[in-house]
Amino acid sequence: MAADKPDFDAIDATFDTIDWDTKDVSAGTATRRDMVEIAAFVALLGALVYDYAILRNEGPLVLNWDVLSVEWMFIATLMLLFFHVVIPLQQRPRMRKFYWRRFKKNKVAVASLVYLIAIFTVGVFGPALMSPPEVHFVNRLKPPLFVTAEVNGQMMAGTMAHPLGTSQEGRDVLKLIVYGMRVSMQVGLISMAFAIILGSTVGTLAAFATSIDAGMVDEVLMRYVDLQSVFPVFMLLLLLTYLFGSQLWMIVALYGFFGWEGIARTVRGEALQRAEEEYVMAAQSAGANTAYVLRRHLIPNSANSIITLATILIPSFILGEASLAFLGFSDPDTFSWGRTIAAGQGYLAEGWWVSLFPGIFLFFTVLAFNFIGEAAQDAIDPRRSGEKGGGL
């Protein structure tokens, strides 16, 4: 890449203009963005307390939207993404352009990104505009558009009313798919947020403990990581959902709690190198405490590997939840794609569309995340700059 096309176009090679009034350079105090972020989370917490303490979680909170347990987590995750991914990218146009130029070389990944943005948008806003897929025994097993199938001894053709057909109980498959989009996005993103927070905290703590000669802490933390990485997570989830019930927020939290060991290992490795850097020493001699060094120096400088690992984790969480749901260990109140596919298994020959269509969406969602993960790795990792896009 460096040989045939330089990364820095001559025109673009200017420094960012920095408005020093908006930057808070003194150590110890929070920046304006931090303040806004804290205020936003306090507001969210307030709404949560209001919903549970005063409304007792009965009845809708805003308009006709009754915010349920997992959706609180989803809102918090989206806020985290907004403050730690969208805003930094928006504030650093040069960095954004640089990564985008490297990312967009991979056409498949760009297409995947478009697909995922569409799934995300429809998944977030679709259920608000669309009535939930309801049981209608009159509409049992209607075939999709352009398909004629024999159902209960009767030849039937697909209609516009149910473009992807209906299930055994008469639920509209298209609606099931739209509601499933939200579940998949929730599982992928919330679990990722959990895993990143836990993994990067443990990883940097372990590395920092080593650097201040508290090697015991490092040893204990990393031994625990070893143990957890050995444990078959899927089996553990089956067991835990069997013991403690299978609500979606629980499945999501469990995936996050048992999925962070890879992040912890990588962050520890990165942070061990960073902890030796001069700027950490400079910060410490200027009076920064451990928490400050962790938050301001070690975690941001390990961000590249965290992002790379996170994009690899998301699809595995989504697939895992779908598999759990397929086996019947999912929240009975949610329309997970895995559950819809499982429902179609019983009458595969008569109503193949019930399993087929949600599966296609699940497959492409996971595939798209994997493609993006690969492309992000190429875009972010400077050591990979010589390759032409990781195989694809």
């Binding site: 078959p232 835990l240 598999s323 599966g359």
Partner: protein
């Protein structure tokens, strides 16, 4: 190096002990579905539910102090006395002994096929990097990793079994008993489960082999080998693969457990193969705690032991690693 082996074995014992203890804590903390059921059925016939709860506790030794139960549990686990499965009315060990051949008959071919093909394609695409074959391999591995096992199985059943009528839709567990494990009829009904599981495990191995081979190919010793006139074959197999085998070995048990064991639950449930996976699934559905415990602990122990063997194999594969000060 001896010290390293001793330390490694010691850690294996400690890890097993910690795992068993964690499971015990989980069992003590969790609500007991059996007890709730017993109490409810008592209440239904008008008996005193508290008395029933006491009876149930006494019956299952739950009235003893926690320390005593912990010691009993540990002794039972170590002496392989893993309890009685009420849903199958047999000992847990007997149930496992009955079920594992059904899992092995598709698990072992999957493991062999995916390792051979996966390493083969992985090595070839690293050797011919950026060729059409490499891109094809990358595409196949992405699809293999991303395709949900259970959905792929259903699509194959729909296409090949329902529409084309090539393979049976369900596994008939009587066929191996009546016609022998290696009979045509039995092999035929194993084709689809093997294809589904191989597809995902193959993809993992392919992708990982390729990246490890590429990493080693840029090393100095490869240049030296080339300069000394090693053929491509010699270079790939004797120099690069041997080095790549070290990290590859580390991923092997992960693939085995992650793909085969969890994939097995799904595959056996879909095809109704009466192996370990279906047993796990039914144990959980029927709230058969001793059996559930066994099916969680066995893969964990396989993983712990597997990691030990991997680490020991590394000593042999890469003599350069210095274990003196670890």
């Amino acid at each position: 190096m001896k010290w390293y082996v001793v330390k490694r074995v010691g850690w294996t014992v400690v890890a097993s002990y910690l795992t068993l203890s964690a499971m015990f804590v989980l069992l003590v903390m969790s609500p007991n579905p059996g007890m709730m059921q017993a109490t409810m059925s008592c209440a239904a016939v008008g008996e005193d539910p508290d008395q029933c709860r006491e009876n149930f506790k006494e019956q299952h030794g739950l009235d003893q102090p926690v320390t005593e139960r912990y010691v009993n549990y540990m002794v039972n686990m170590v002496t392989l006395n893993w309890g009685w499965s009420h849903s199958r009315t047999q000992y847990v060990m007997a149930a496992i002994g009955e079920a594992w051949p059904y899992s092995a008959q598709y698990g072992i071919p999957t493991l062999i096929l995916s390792t051979l093909i996966g390493y083969g394609i992985g090595i070839y695409s690293a050797y011919k990097q950026y060729s059409l074959a490499d891109y094809g391999g990358a595409f196949v591995s992405f699809v293999g990793i991303s395709i949900p096992n259970f959905w792929f199985a259903l699509v194959l059943i729909l296409l090949l079994s329902v529409w084309l009528n090539l393979f049976p839709v369900y596994y008939e567990s009587l066929i191996p008993v009546e016609q022998g494990w290696l009979s045509m009829a039995n092999l035929e009904q194993l084709v689809l489960p093997t294809i589904v599981l191989t597809s995902s495990s193959l993809a993992f191995q392919m992708r990982y082999t390729r990246s490890q081979m590429l990493e080693q190919m840029n090393k100095e010793f490869v240049k030296v080998a080339k300069a000394k006139g090693a053929s491509d074959y010699q270079m790939l197999i004797w120099h690069v693969l041997r080095m790549a085998a070290v990290p590859l070995a580390t991923s092997f048990v992960g693939v085995l457990i992650g793909v085969l064991w969890t994939g097995g639950i799904i595959i056996e449930q879909i095809f109704s193969i009466p192996g370990i996976g279906l047993m796990t699934y039914q144990a959980i559905i029927q709230q058969d705690t001793p059996l559930v415990l066994a099916t969680v602990l066995i893969p964990t122990f396989i993983a712990i032991l597997g990691n030990l063997f991997e680490d020991l194999a590394q000593i042999w594969l890469d003599p350069r690693i210095d274990y003196g000060n670890r």
